[in-house]
Subunit: 315 residues, 2 copies
């Protein structure tokens, strides 16, 4: 999986950043997380075809997270999309979509499956498809807002080739029996169970914005290989972060550390910071493997163990 | 007045053009005609402050003409705009705006005055303010769609200084009496009436899209100094223009010629034309003073007499 941030600005529209939108690409299919105003132009610039999008997840109904959705859907309809699309969003947004000329039932040229995010939702699966499972959990933004976590759904006994070879397994038939869940006996008499050779990677991605540090965010971020987290403010504006339902860069880093995340990408920057490197510095003091989410860059979501979770010498 | 096109593409989102949006600036105030997805980013790029916008006119409810409105309004509200804004639009759009979280009555931080474009409207005044009058007229797009015409409202006897001087008028008191509508007598006995020295310029701008050539468009474009007109298709796609309720470049030119317009700007180009100079060529064969509307360029809307309305030698 790769993550491609398309917009990293918080609510204010600024010249050099887009509004919230994040592409997660896996085996050529795309999941889109949030869809701020102008997202369809950013998809175009990133060379990501609209037709690849399988599902769109809207975290909450502040305009900078969803107002690009209508234009994107109209474009999908104009190009006579045939693949169904899944939209995971609060009911109110679904109602608005259904009132937009061109998107009303009977007018739109493709099928939309709506998954309603209920305001009293707990951590729960909201999507499953194309080898991916997505869970949502409520965040703490002062209004209804959810975060998401994506994991690859490997078969229960997906075999790690290198590990199998290390055990002396080299025949196709042996692989197949292990993958089917059977323990096998090798020619030298040793027994090998599926658990001994199954792939450990889970390739987990967590998207946690907009929120104060909270239980739901921690839950989603647990052992995530890549965590994208709200870092709207610097520590010196911590009070403003709390009052507006956001996190500081340090908040994000503390959560990444507690959750045992692999890598932290900071996003959703307030327009007040002309240089967001200050935010990276504040986060790295707590969680060294932190980067600023750069728009149009590709970030790999790959299980790499826990090597990056060493404490900073400054801590 | 100056016109600044911000988006010249028809429905399809393409890399190098924006969706319909046109700024008309007069004495530092801005009227915005249509507001396609992404318009607020284009305003920013053009250096046009949102706070300058006095009124927004929406021609019709195809997404490429209005879906940038919600984000723009949210941004105006976030920046705590205090000036009231006028929105001239069909009722359905007003209903949608009022359903958007953050724009609902009681949530928005500034006053919006809505002027409803009724589906059975005739040519009528829809806005008056900041020395400008705007009229709307129904177009022929296959669905409800209107065009607009802007004129400066000069006082009934606004005096042309150069003309007055040519008549031998040089005293402030004489100017004031003429401006107040009185005929005056000069020291040599000659009588000068306000009609003899009043300013002829009317600085008229017409915005006619999306439409087949029609009576309403002709009415709006009559003697306009600058006419922005739908030129979605080339003549070789004339049937497609008719079937989709649009004009060819030649249609636009014929209308400009019949209306006695000063200058024609072509806009709303189908994505099928990689080189729109073909469209300009087709139009110029009929109406020589034709240009392709270039995004971010400033076009003066100034009364220049009829000098540009000569026929092309090719006609």
């Amino acid at each position: 999986m790769e993550l491609i941030p398309l917009g990293t600005s918080s609510a204010t529209v600024v010249q050099d950043r887009g509004l919230s939108a994040n592409v997660l690409r896996s085996r050529g299919k795309v999941l889109l997380f949030d869809c701020g105003d102008g997202t369809q132009f950013r998809l175009l610039k990133a060379g990501i075809r609209r037709s690849r999008i399988q599902a769109i997840f809207i975290s909450h109904l502040h305009g900078d997270h969803y107002l690009g959705l209508f234009g994107l859907l109209i474009s999908m309809s104009l190009e006579r999309r045939e693949t169904p699309l899944t939209i995971i969003a609060p009911q109110k947004l679904i109602d608005i979509i259904r009132a937009i000329p061109g998107l009303r039932p009977g007018e739109i040229h493709f099928q939309i499956q709506y998954i309603v995010l209920a305001e009293d939702c707990k951590t729960q699966e909201v999507y499953r498809g194309h080898g991916l499972q997505v869970r949502a959990a409520p965040l703490d933004h002062g209004r209804f807002c959810v975060g998401f976590r994506v994991e690859k759904i490997d078969g229960p006994n997906r075999i790690d080739g290198a590990l199998a070879h290390a055990h002396g397994i080299d025949q196709q038939e042996q692989f197949e029996r292990l993958a089917a869940g059977h323990t096998i006996q090798l020619s030298d008499g040793r027994m090998v169970s599926p658990d001994q050779v199954k792939r450990q990677s889970r390739d987990a991605f967590a998207y946690v914005t907009d929120t104060r540090p909270c239980e739901g965010g921690l839950d989603l971020a647990g052992d995530a290989d890549l965590l994208v987290h709200d870092a709207t403010f610097s520590q010196e504006d911590a009070e403003r972060a709390t009052s507006t339902g956001h996190s500081t860069a340090r908040d994000a880093a503390l959560l990444a550390k507690t959750a045992g995340a692999g890598k932290l990408l900071l996003t959703h920057f307030s327009a007040r910071y002309s240089d967001v490197m200050l935010l990276r510095q504040e986060a790295r003091a707590v969680f060294p493997n932190t980067e600023i989410a750069e728009e149009y860059h590709e970030y790999s979501v790959t299980f790499e163990g826990n090597t990056s979770q060493t404490d900073s010498p400054n801590e």
